[in-house]
């Protein structure tokens, strides 16, 4: 019933489309001159790239859904801030720290029962494997990081601005969405870029335990089947992916930064 972005396969589609043309066979034979590469493998790589991007996007969104409010609350409940509460701050801070201390590879395994239940509830499939299921641990793993980054970005907003907004009769909610978030936006986008890059790393790890994606490809063929060419190509794809994320991030920051 609940199937998010089911047919997200831009590269696979692109390659299928290109395979109609004559030059495709030349391309494949060129690829085959590297050890272990053939048409099936090229399509596997396209699929793995698609899966990785899919997981980056969805777990980025999932992590933000949890991390953004958490980060805002962590900031607002700090001592001397607009919703000052030692108890809530202590509690949230504790939870955040606990989840940040768990190494991601262990977190994935640790929350398998939770992943299982969540998948059952959201999609009706009882599984903890595959790219969809991986989004659950990925979101939870990255959320505390996002929360802390949001908190830091908000701490960067000059306190005078909040004071000014209060003096003009802004409610705490108005301060958050009209002052804090817009003012912190350039820093938030910068942190999100870092987060998405970290996430790409996490996804490679998730690949090792059955999430699919480029990580799984590299481990399966590169490490277990010992095909170093495959591993190296996967690495190059990952490098390109990360460069693209960084470049997009920089462009957006440049557009929204008016400081």
């Amino acid at each position: 019933m609940f199937n998010f972005l089911p047919s997200f396969k831009p590269f696979e589609t692109l390659f299928r489309y290109l395979s109609q043309y004559d030059f495709w066979s030349n391309f494949i034979s060129f690829c085959s001159s590297f050890g272990g590469l053939n048409e099936t493998m090229v399509f596997k790589m396209a699929q793995a790239t698609d899966d990785t991007i899919y997981m980056v996007i969805l777990s980025g969104i999932g992590g933000t859904i949890i991390g953004l409010p958490l980060g805002i609350l962590l900031y607002c409940t700090r001592k001397g801030h607009i919703l000052d509460s030692l108890f809530i701050n202590g509690l949230l801070s504790f939870i955040t720290n606990v989840f940040r201390s768990i190494p991601f590879i262990i977190l994935i395994v640790w929350i398998i029962p939770f992943t299982y239940i969540t998948m059952d509830l959201l999609t009706g499939t009882k599984t903890f494997l595959g790219k969809q299921a991986a989004i659950v641990p990925l979101s939870i793993g990255v959320a505390p990081l996002i929360a802390r980054m949001i908190e830091n970005a908000l701490l960067d907003v000059p306190k005078g601005l909040i004071e000014a907004a209060r003096s003009m009769g802004a409610t705490p909610l108005q301060i958050i969405y009209k002052v804090l978030l817009p003012e912190a936006l350039p820093v938030i986008i910068n942190s999100m870029t870092i987060t998405l890059i970290t996430l790409t790393g996490y996804i490679a790890m998730a690949g090792a335990v059955g999430a699919g994606g480029l990580g799984q490809l590299a481990i399966q063929y590169g490490y277990q089947a010992y095909q170093p060419v495959i591993m190296n190509i996967v690495l190059i794809i990952l490098i390109i992916l990360i460069f693209i994320i960084q470049i997009i991030g920089n462009v957006i920051v440049k557009r929204v930064n008016h400081r």
């Binding site: 601005l161 000014a164 003096s167 003009m168 009769g169 802004a170 009209k178 002052v179 008016h258």
Partner: protein, 343 residues
């Protein structure tokens, strides 16, 4: 319009109580510009923050336009703050918003319709002389322009009171003057009550009707500006007034100066004119009456709150007897005369 009754504020630093404000009583009538002057750390920032309850006083009442703010719920307080605007030393403009959007900000908070915002903001930008900067971001403005935007923003919600927290302290003298002119202008045009705090007597001199001196959390003196300048009661007020007058005996005079009369020397006098001095051409009357001449070395006269005041260094040339009579004449007319020595 603004009334503080027995306001005290105690901070706790490492569990040690620090008294920032001690039993402050203050009253600002409608339409007045009221200045509070004090050195840094005297508690003036805390005082102005207590007026809109950015800082909640530990005890006492804050009454603005007949409403006791300390008794209000947070919700009502938020609402009433629309009518108490504030401008700051460091402007506190939102960097993510253009000039137009900054001025629109307080209106957005009140959910004003877009059309009303549009016309009101343009009107305000006109008032502060920044119509051509509507779509510029604050980072591209000079300090004076930023403060003008802040003033426009403060006026957007049609406040009854404007609080100025060291509004000109980060600006150069020329810009300070233009901002003060603007404040005076809106004070007259809108009959806006202004409470400002500053550490510069020049600001008080230029626009205030009344002034209070704050020192170590207490108001030590409060008077109309003219009275304050004519008869300051406390040492600290005198110091502030002195700080606006810069007068030194020139180096070469200091070297020639004898403490006692010598043959062929004349007294070097320091004359203090205060508001009590009759408004008459004293010096020329004196020269006519007593056959003495003045060699003015340096002088600084100023005019504030309808009062002329200043200091003058002068060498008085004439017969010893005439000089004594002339000094008596000046003293009789409330000019303080001090014989600094003989040159």
């Amino acid at each position: 319009m603004i009334k503080l009754e027995n306001v005290s504020k105690i901070f706790y630093q490492n569990n040690q109580p620090v008294t920032a404000l001690n039993n402050i009583n203050l009253s600002v009538p409608v339409g007045q510009i009221f200045g509070v002057i004090g050195t840094s750390g005297a508690g003036k920032s805390t005082l102005i923050r207590c007026v809109n309850l950015l800082e909640r006083p530990s005890s006492g009442k804050v009454i603005v336009d007949g409403v006791d703010l300390t008794a209000l719920s947070n919700r009502k307080l938020t609402k009433i703050r629309h009518k108490i605007s504030m401008i700051f030393q460091h402007f506190n403009l939102l960097s993510s918003r253009t000039v137009f959007e900054n001025v629109a900000f307080p209106l957005e908070l009140e959910h004003t319709p877009k059309k009303v915002i549009q016309s009101r903001v343009l009107e305000l930008l006109e008032l502060v002389g920044l119509s051509n900067k509507a779509n510029v971001y604050p980072s591209n403005l000079s300090g004076g322009q930023k403060q003008r935007v802040a003033i426009a923003r403060a006026l957007a919600s049609q406040p009854k009171v404007l609080l100025c927290d060291e509004a000109t302290s980060a600006l150069d003298p020329a810009t300070t003057r233009s901002i003060l002119d603007l404040l005076k202008d809106i004070n007259r045009k809108l009959n806006l009550t202004i409470l400002l705090i500053t550490h510069e007597m020049d600001v008080v001199k230029k626009i205030c009707d009344q002034v209070a001196v704050i020192s170590q959390g207490q108001l030590v003196e409060q008077a109309a500006v003219g009275n304050m300048f004519s008869r300051p009661k406390t040492a600290i007020s005198k110091e502030f007034i002195q700080s606006t007058l810069h007068l030194h005996i020139p180096e070469d005079y200091l070297q020639k100066l004898h403490p006692t009369p010598q043959p062929g020397t004349y007294p070097l006098l320091r004359l203090d004119f205060s508001g009590l001095t009759v408004d008459a051409p004293l010096l020329s009357q004196m020269t006519k009456q007593f056959n003495v001449e003045n060699n003015i070395i340096s002088a600084q006269m100023d005019y504030a709150g309808g009062v002329k005041f200043g200091v003058m260094l002068t060498e008085m040339i004439g017969d010893q007897n005439d000089i004594n009579n002339a000094i008596n004449f000046l003293t009789k007319h409330n000019t303080q005369v001090e014989v600094l020595g003989y040159v």
